[in-house]
Amino acid sequence: MTATTSTTPSSPSGNAAQPSAPRRTRRGLYGVLSAVPTGVLWFLVALWSLPTMGMLVSSFREERAVKRTGWWTVVTDPQLTLDNYRAVFSTQGTDAPDLWQHFWNSVAITVPATIIPIAFAAFAAYAFAWMEFPGRRTLFVVVVGLLVVPLQLSLVPLLQLYTGGAHLTVFGETLTLFPDLDLNGTPTAVWLTHIAFGLPLAIFLLHNYFAALPKDLIEAARIDGADHLTIFWRMVLPLSVPALAAFAIFQFLWVWNDYLVAVTFVGGARDNAPLTVRLASLSGGRGQDWHLLTAAAFVSIALPLAVFFSLQRYFVRGLLAGSVKG
């Protein structure tokens, strides 16, 4: 095809057409090469999603079929059923999976553990970014430094704190620093822990985003008569939706998928266990029930998927467009 175009002197700009011929070949090669990264990406996407696909398909197959053939046989023998989901949601029997209850336990832990740190951190990050007060830098460094505190190290002290409180005896006087709230085994213990460990990262991320907002905007608002609270609510928060959403997604996924904190604080109380803990005990007690485990696992990833897809547009949208000329 390239040969024909180069040898046809039909166009009036024949001179210009001739040197364009090799260029067209190069463009053809370039076209092929430029498709390579896309192809590789698609391949990786397929490879990475395959196990999840397999799980999803298996969760809809009968017990006998799951145990005898691979999930890909659905292509030739499509026999799907909802029995597995009925089984994992059932409340009958002494050791019924009863996933609905654990699903709501997970929600009850995740929602406060996501919303409260964002609310606290946004105020703190604003103060660190835009308010002048002595020791601001030092305090910020200390808060960010808390990021390195390892979670595992603090599990036992926290467990003691939640069951006995914290008391300090000085000169024979006992000061109660933290009352004995008997939180062990309650969802509150779990989300309190997640809030504490989520705050440093939240403050750090939001501070960096807030501080990068154009200074002129804040000053313009001050001249227009806004005080700190107004600037926070009407300027900084609306302009920081992408950062807030990003942190919300990360924190949500982290808390939802967390096993360690949950098993430490509510592991003993099955009624309060979130999905992850219940799922682990199911695979222990019912390790041979593949068909049930796949359904249960899919129940546990359904909400994170929904959250991610509903918030992901905030990653793409640039809210700052047009505020100041670059």
């Binding site: 000053e219 313009a220 001249i223 008569g225 806004a226 300027m235 467009a321 047009g322 100041v324």
Partner: protein, 406 residues
Amino acid sequence: MASVTFDEVTKVYPNGYVGIRDLSLDIADGELLVLVGPSGCGKSTALRMAAGLEEITGGELRIGDRVVNHLPPKDRDIAMVFQNYALYPHMSVRQNIGFALKLARVPKDELNQRVDEAARLLQLEPWLDSKPGQLSGGQRQRVAMGRAIVRDPAVFLMDEPLSNLDAKLRVQMRTEISNLQQSLATTTIYVTHDQVEAMTMGHRVAVLKDGRLQQVAPPEVLYAEPDNTFVAAFTGSPSMNLVEGTLQRGPDGGHSIELGAQRLELPPELVASRPGLAAYAGKPVIVGIRAEALDDAGVERLDAGPVGTVTGIVERREALGAEILVHVEIEARPVVTDDVRDLAAKSDESVVAKLEQQAAVGRATLVARFDPHSRVRGGEQVTLSVRTDQLQFFDVDSGLAVRGSG
């Protein structure tokens, strides 16, 4: 409406750097005062102190009769236009303009009416519901203006409001802002680094350098009688030619200036109007010559006045149509003070190098504004006619203008 008074206002930063030193300025009610100077001269700092965005470390700042040193911005009855507009990107044009009124709890009817009026004045009505991101540069600039005028403040503060616009739009907006300020008669402090903007817009222009006020005067006075060599070199385009000469007193009592081997007779009225000049007899003095005081001696001058002549070699010729800018090298020491060096370095380092080199061999380049009929070419020798009554004189050491009794 109010006057603004800077009374020995000083800004010292915590690290000891002095941003503004003893700035004293009286800005009359309804006046448009332009603060101009090279970057880093403290002009924006002065404006931000007036706005309340920068703490005042010394002196007193008054708006009207009130001392506002410690008042927060919102209580100063000011409005500010920022260099990059600082529009609120998540709000519509209507919300942007009305934001200050909304915070001041102005009733909704009145708020809408005032926003509409401002939008009408600035021809922004079709875009009231657009977001800033959908507007062009000029429209954003107008929204920023709208945000300021809707509040009907006592003082407008403008921080290089036109520097983000392209050249043509800048000239247009310059006129618009001038007209708007005229019709609203609101006291305005306007900061710019562009001396053309300063000269065309300001009722008075204050020239700042290194945090110090150099001169404050109406543009024509600033141009014709600069107080020092910095102002002389900063104002006008091309800027004033500064060369070193020696003042000689003739046996008949008349004075003349020696530039190298050449001599310019000074008209007696000029010397009489500058009593301080007599003290420089026999001493070096800096001579300032505006480009329009020079012309081709071969072409008849249109303006009448005492004329002397200087001969030099044409270095370069820039035909601009209505006039020709001719760079002529003559035998005289160019003035290479820190001011001149700083200003030249702002545009081009090589200019400084050339100046130093010329100073070493005692040759200076004058920029002359020739009549378009002149036929001089590069490399030719040319005789310049010099309007001697328009010469300015500055002290060699201090750079200050030589005027009154010395």
